[in-house]
Amino acid sequence: MAQIICQNLSLGYDGKAILQDLNFSIHAGDYFCIVGENGSGKSTLMKTLLHLQPPVSGKILTGDGLKPNEIGYLPQQTQVQRDFPASVREIVLSGCQNRCGFRPFYSKAEKRLTAGAMEKMQISHLSKSCYRELSGGQQQRVLLARALCAARKVLLLDEPVSGLDPKVTAEMYRIIEELNKKDGMTIIMISHDIAAAVTFASHILHIGQSVFFGTKQEYLQSSIGKSFAGTAGGEQK
């Protein structure tokens, strides 16, 4: 049973579809990369998967014991967050909010979970620091720790390395891979870094004028994969 199944999914804004008839499924433990050019609808797909906007038509089904709101989400940073006065601990703790329901305060278990997530992301020593004073890489770790508090099974990452320098980027990819391999997290990552996608991903969904869905090996052998992965590799050298 797959964790997330999309059937004949069309997405877009105001009833106008920008992507039509997507069919794919994501299984537990997948490292699922969504690639495509700018404007191909990657972010729209992300928002639809997170139920932030309704699909134009088609269905998103969840299975394997996954509830719709159990997906952890690493968003791109917003302008507001850059000067938000909040300590690291407060932000990570806010990831537990969906466990609270109408209970006003956090329980001991949730505070332990927060401490664990910070430990895992190696930001425990920053616990009392101010979020806006951290480096870009540290901020991403904080948001990742928050996402870990919100979900145990699936993580959605929206361009997790944009704006990070190469060293921190490599570090970030290592953390994500570790979450996938060691903790069995299902990773869904949006990226325009195709070189990284073909290195780490197990499955690739390429959207744009032509749509491709399959495993990494299939992607590398397909014509669309060859043209894109080829140029991406060229840029790397």
């Binding site: 997170l50 139920h51 932030l52 509830k67 719709p68 709101n69 159990e70 997906i71 952890g72 989400y73 968003p75 917003t78 507001v80 967050q81 000067d83 938000f84 006065p85 909040a86 300590s87 407060e90 932000i91 703790l93 806010s94 990831g95 909010q97 969906n98 609270c100 006003p104 305060f105 956090y106 009392k128 620091s129 101010c130 004073e133 928050r146 996402a147 919100a150 979900a151 959605l156």
Partner: protein
């Protein structure tokens, strides 16, 4: 000076002014942090102009109790404004500016055409600047304000964590199953209540200042959301009390004195922030 203060404290209106001023300062500063961070600094100004417009309409229609008309209108406007924050064609600041200026103009126009009182510009001035109204409070108004403040503080405490989550990252909160819309609605309703009540008591100029200044000052010097909230509440109450006392002693207008003290406090906070290198 102490004697003079003791002399003034014999009068109930001085005590009322202090109580009400402190309570309104407390409530508005609690939500001020959220509003400033959500880029809604001007909502106090906007909504008080809406309330002013509604008051004009209520006066013309000869409602016996204008509150019953002003409050719903302001609450609806607050909800509309805060809802449109994210994904609309007219962005937050433009929407506030539009509603604020529009309501002010229409209100003044209506009051002018259907002139009800002999001293129109005086009425308008006291509504906007609250020149003396805080010194003419009745006992029932003080009670109303006390009860409302207690409700606001309790709501804020109960929903503190949720307000933080929704303010910091609305999309994340929504995606992980927090009912962000509901809490946005709650914030809008609370702020509308505070503004309507406070406007009658202290005037609309003061509300905006009470919402913005303590929050901004606290954000200069403190690092966590919790400490910013506490600092802004304390600062706001202290400045309000100091402002009222000074205005009584020096005979200056209450609202403007409080705002002037808030400005000084902001300057000090800014300097402290610079010295600490934040």
């Amino acid at each position: 000076m102490i004697e003079k203060l003791a002399f003034y404290f014999q009068y109930p209106f001085v005590r009322y002014a202090l109580v009400v001023g402190a309570l309104i300062a407390l409530c508005s500063s609690l939500l001020g942090v959220t509003l400033v961070l959500k880029r809604f600094s001007f909502i106090g100004d906007g909504l008080s102009h809406v309330a002013f417009g509604a008051m004009a309409v209520a006066a013309i229609l000869n409602f016996t109790d204008d509150m019953l008309f002003i409050l719903p209108v302001t609450v609806i406007c607050a909800i509309l404004l805060l809802r449109t924050g994210q994904n609309t064609k007219i962005k937050g600041d433009a929407a506030i500016a539009m509603i604020s200026v529009g309501a002010l103009a229409v209100g003044y126009l209506l009051m002018n055409i259907f002139s009800t009182g002999p001293n129109l510009s005086g009425d308008v001035c006291s509504t906007l600047f609250g020149s003396t109204s805080i010194l003419t409070l009745t006992k029932s108004e003080v009670w109303l304000c006390t009860v409302l403040s207690i409700i606001v503080v309790i709501l804020f405490l109960l929903f503190y964590n949720k307000i933080f989550a929704v303010t910091f990252d609305e999309n994340f909160a929504k995606a992980t199953g927090t009912r962000a819309d509901l809490f946005n609605l709650l914030i809008a309703v609370i702020i509308a209540f505070i503004i309507v009540v406070a406007m009658n008591l202290v005037g609309s100029l003061l509300i905006s200042a009470l919402v913005i200044f303590p929050a901004l000052s606290a954000m200069r010097t403190f690092k966590s959301f919790f400490s910013v909230t506490i600092c802004s509440a304390v600062l706001s109450v202290v400045c309000a009390l100091a402002g009222i006392l000074i205005s009584i002693l020096a005979g200056t207008p209450v609202g403007s004195t409080i705002v002037a003290i808030d400005i000084i406090a902001f300057g000090i906070a800014y300097l402290i922030g610079r010295v600490l290198g934040r």
